[in-house]
């Protein structure tokens, strides 16, 4: 009986679902941002900051940032468990660093959205 204590959703099925749902949200956010930048080639600060001052855009962005945190955590957990499988200490150190980085990005993102 193997009890894995490091995978994000605590079960493979939960990880699988988290990864798919967050992927769809991130895909929609990516299409929106890339589309917005493509259709506004002469973008200025007024329009750009105006977009991010809208409540719906802040909520959409926060949803994307939370999805990004979950998606990166699940994905990088899979990659580190697959390739750092012989060095448990290094893997735990790398995974701890990844979780801290994910946390920093999430806090940074929230600060950007609501102003530091």
């Amino acid at each position: 009986m193997v009890t894995n204590i490091t995978n994000p959703g605590r079960s493979g099925l939960a990880d699988w679902l988290i990864q798919r749902v967050s992927a769809v949200i991130l895909a929609l956010y990516t299409l929106f941002i890339v589309g917005y930048l493509l259709f506004n080639p002469g973008l200025d600060y007024i329009a750009w900051s105006g977009l991010f001052s809208q409540a719906w855009m802040r909520i959409f962005s926060l949803l994307a940032f939370v999805s990004l945190a979950a998606h990166a955590w699940v994905g990088l957990w899979i990659v580190t468990t697959d390739y750092l499988n012989k060095w448990v200490g290094i893997r735990l150190a790398v995974q701890t660093f990844i979780i801290l980085a994910v946390f920093v990005f999430l806090v940074w993102g929230i600060q950007v959205l609501w102003g530091a």
């Binding site: 193997v2 992927a23 750009w48 990088l76």
Partner: protein, 125 residues
């Protein structure tokens, strides 16, 4: 850990068919995107901080060759990861989960990614 599980395969001795290569590319692009997040968040933060910050980001992306390369690299990784991710979701929906279907989807993934990588380069320059 059950010792009978076929783990710790020596990747260097395995021949990779195209679907395996797109799978590896999906992973590599994901790691690149995570590392590159620091630039993306910096650009978002700076561009929203003030009109001067917005101009600084825009000028950097317009004139700095290193910034252009990073932007192109990030957009390319995003394109590869996006296309391979859509392929994954199609497999989850049981679309094309045959040997031929898998190869065909891998080929489409490579071509679509390549086109998007070129378009991203055109956009950046």
């Amino acid at each position: 850990m059950n010792s009978k599980r076929p783990i710790n395969l020596d990747l260097a001795t395995i021949q990779f068919p195209l679907p395996a290569l797109t799978s590896i590319a999906h992973r590599i692009s994901g790691v690149i995107l995570f590392i590159g997040l620091i630039f993306a968040f910096w650009a978002l933060d700076k561009s929203l901080s003030s009109p001067q910050g917005f101009d600084a980001v825009r000028d950097t992306l317009a004139h700095n060759i290193l910034a252009k390369l990073v932007a192109w690299g990030m957009l390319s990784a995003l394109a590869v990861h996006f296309v391979a991710g859509v392929k994954h979701l199609l497999m989850d929906l049981h679309i094309g989960v045959t040997l031929e279907g898998g190869l065909r989807k891998a080929q489409i993934t490579v071509v679509a990614s390549a086109v998007l990588v070129i378009l991203a380069g055109v956009w950046v320059w």
